[in-house]
Symmetry: C2
């Protein structure tokens, strides 16, 4: 997937790779996930997705678009073909463009005449495509490796896909909304991660006070045995719509009997693998918690991404499901480690719960999911440890962690004994009876511990970071695991560039990067 | 199914049974089916369907409704429960009522929160239901027998059901419309007939002129191999919606591999058995033709209904599919007979084709379906035959018709030889290679001819009409056919009442009714 980016100011092209998610947040403190979502959603609602010829002349395209409205942002990328995301400054631009659009008239085949904000740019004179320019030279990898964190463009595209899908759901449930959750928005997502979405039907249930006497009306509706059955019904119909009508939606699978019923499909125009669920509210809350932890301290995300990159290089994690430690588990392990610094870099979940206002009280499916989302209420002691110190101490911490007796639990400061016998026990933050690392077997855990020991030793003995990020002598390549053709050092190069720009980390870690990596990468 | 009817003027109750479909038509000549449809559709769009307690106090209900808007019409009927059709004088009334409505809050079960114009009236104080009144005393049979022609109320309800279903289809295809066709609107429908509907997607395909040069947009849509595949896709999704979301829609069947793909279901609130198709344009045109014939002369419909009633009494037709002659075939036989009077009471289809303006040219799926729908262009010689004469001559005509060589064909005046060997050959008016009575076997045709001979003889010898309408000695009751408990004379009584009021037939046939039937019924 390649990307080229155009700025809104007509004629002035400016690349916007790796733009921070929200540039303003540094000035006014972090933005809440709710506000961030609302802003992204509004952007998405005034955007369209356009399939284009690969050599579309960008200036002519922008000139054409400007007839319909003021363009805030426009960028191209390549997925299954070339596409452009166009954000107008208001809905009128979208409406004007849609009103000008025609149904394709195709001989010898027919079309499902669904009008959506997914369009196709046609050009009567092919000379209008820019033969001189070679936009492919401007392309960059949107998913150059699986270790890059999400860019502004990728995030915009994720919200746009949610918004396009919501147009389909809103046809029946006007008060519904489809929201991304998980790695797409929690701040720990990598490029190429799945797009997890939730169809939130809560807005559709409007409970009115009944009059004390006299007549009133209720909607006559289908009744089902449970909320789960409603979810299944709604997802079943949406799956049918996507399958039969949804342009670019392929491989639609209804997985309705799962613990959390979902619809899985590939959205070709965006290149995203999508999972749509309708009732996973606890997962929404987990997303908010992770986002909060990521925003509380600038060192959290770089450390998480570096540990994940290290883990990927040594086969601790794997894209193939199995007994490996997952990225989610590793993320929780880093957060847990940061809670245990002295002074702590992150508060415990119990502390966030204590700080919550009564209005933030939240119980979902019997689980207490209360915590404050208000950054102003959370004060932490100053901890000045550098990222290189923290990385070394992370390896040290897990080299000596008593995995056979202790659990990893974001809730409390005190030590927690494992309630069950799985080699690795990481408590699900809200569904506290669940172990999120139940899949990890003893040998995988042993490999992890051995690698931590080795890496701690290497760092202490003054090795470069890139030495850590190359497969070590103890990292056995499994028969079923295919090695990436791209060496780890290449992936790290991109990662470091991404993190440096993204987080404006001007202390420790950047120095660490500069000293240890850049000269040799 | 029972009916009680309330007039719009608040507090003044007036029964409106058997109101003519359009009272104005007598003054300004017949109304075109297109105009009639548009009027009915507009009524339906400003109407709601309300499930009520059987003892709802009508005046209090009307008072409650008047808070939301001016009520044009309100009537109650019984299906699976008691329902009211409420027509406001404009859309604002509907909107206001819907905005006041709540989602039911149900403990221990869940609801699919689809908001539609299908509502449920709730009453906080049960004392508000009218214990004194016994509305059931006001009820009349909406479908007292299968021989009654459609009433105004029943027609309103049919259009309302189409409009409610269109709300579902329009969610994806805003320019679509669901229209009734066949017996619901052709003027020959009987109470209790199925509701045949077509989803017309033509409005959704808006072909715009392409610009001569430069860029333009097309909607990105799913492509299929054929128009049929589009129809199947759309019907498949709508079937899913009806099944999962549609209040009161039960027994939803997808019959997508039929020659004409359709969705079949029972709509409980109306009590209608529904068939929804999406591409049966020839059937739409047949509906228009039958409507035109019915409107051209006031004797057409009474004669058709009487012949059908006679046929039903003698087992010529049957509600069970089989080798019996269908009501549709009988209707065509009556029309064919009326084309052959001297002077003709109805013109041939070929004549209607000659009279068509160029704008009325119509070719559907390779079939020439051209004919004029303009009543002013059709002039006929004066024929003063009475309905009793015509009934006798109908029996006479088919007593001597050379079925083994001749076909029945609404197209031409001349005699037509049968192109194939089926005992009865009635050419489909537009798909001229099809025989609509292919199902009829020799013994059923023989019974029909024998009954015609007997009935012609009875009428000539001065017998009363009701003698004709009682099972004759030659009408053998088939083992598999259940006799209706209601005697034919009872059904006839209702039929005659219906036809007399509906058609204002003040000559021949009414006298015939009075002289021959009413005193003895």
């Amino acid at each position: 997937m390649n990307i080229m980016s155009g700025q809104c100011v007509f004629g002035q092209k400016k690349h916007l790779f790796f733009l921070p998610l929200s540039e303003k947040k540094k000035k006014n403190g972090p933005k809440s996930l709710r506000d961030l979502r609302a802003e992204r959603q509004a952007q998405a609602e005034r955007s369209v997705l356009v399939s284009c010829h690969p050599k579309t002349h960008e200036n002519k395209f922008l000139k054409y678009l400007s007839r319909h409205g003021n363009v805030n942002k426009c960028f191209f990328y390549e997925s299954f073909g070339t596409y452009a995301v166009v954000e107008f400054s208001n809905q009128d631009g979208v409406q004007s463009l849609l009103e000008s659009a025609a149904m394709p008239s195709v001989s010898h085949e027919s079309v499902v005449p669904l009008r959506s904000r997914l369009l196709s740019l046609r050009n009567v004179n092919t000379v209008d495509t820019d033969k001189q320019s070679a936009p492919s030279a401007n392309h960059r990898e949107l998913c150059p490796s699986t270790t890059h964190s999400l860019t502004d463009e990728n995030t915009r595209l994720r919200f746009l896909v949610c918004s396009l899908l919501n147009d389909i759901a809103a046809a029946y449930f006007p008060q519904s909304s489809i929201k991304p959750f998980g790695s797409s928005v929690n701040g720990f997502g990598k490029l190429g991660c799945d797009l997890d979405m939730i169809l939130d039907l809560d807005g559709t249930i409007c409970v009115r006070p009944q009059p004390r006497s006299g007549m009133y009306m209720e909607y006559l509706v289908k009744r089902t045995s449970s909320e789960r059955a409603v979810t299944q019904s709604v997802l079943s119909v949406i799956a049918g719509c996507l399958d039969q009508f949804g342009p670019g939606c392929v491989g639609v699978q209804k997985i309705l009997n799962a613990r959390c019923p979902l619809v899985r499909f590939a959205h070709q125009p965006s290149g995203f693998q999508c999972d749509l669920t309708a009732s996973n509210r606890v997962a929404m809350r987990s997303t908010e918690l992770l986002y909060l932890f990521g925003e509380l301290d600038a060192r959290v995300r770089p450390l998480v991404f570096t540990v994940r990159c290290w883990a990927r290089a040594h086969g601790v994690t794997s894209p193939i499901p199995g007994a490996w430690i997952t990225n989610f588990s590793l993320t929780i392990m880093v957060l847990f480690f940061l809670q245990r610094r002295n002074p702590p870099i992150l508060p415990t979940l119990d502390r966030l719960k204590e700080l919550a206002e009564p209005s933030e009280k939240c119980v979902l499916d019997g689980n207490d999911c209360t915590f404050t989302s208000d950054f102003h209420r959370i004060s932490l002691e100053t901890n000045t440890e550098t990222l290189d110190q923290l990385l070394g101490d992370f390896f040290e911490f897990y080299s000596t962690f008593i995995f056979n007796r202790m659990s990893i639990n974001l809730g409390r400061y005190g030590k927690e004994h494992k309630p069950e016998l799985h080699p690795l026990y990481i408590q699900n933050p809200f569904e506290t009876s669940l172990n999120i690392s139940k899949n990890v077997n003893s040998s995988q855990l042993e490999r992890f511990v051995t690698l931590c020991q080795e890496s701690a030793w290497l760092l202490q003995s003054g090795s470069h970071l890139n030495t850590l990020l190359l497969p070590s002598h103890i990292s056995v390549v499994r028969g079923r695991k295919k090695r990436k053709s791209q060496p780890a050092s290449e992936r790290i190069k991109g990662l470091l560039e991404s993190l440096r720009i993204k987080n404006n980390v001007s202390f420790g870690f950047t120095v660490f990067f500069k000293n240890h990596c850049n000269k040799s990468l």
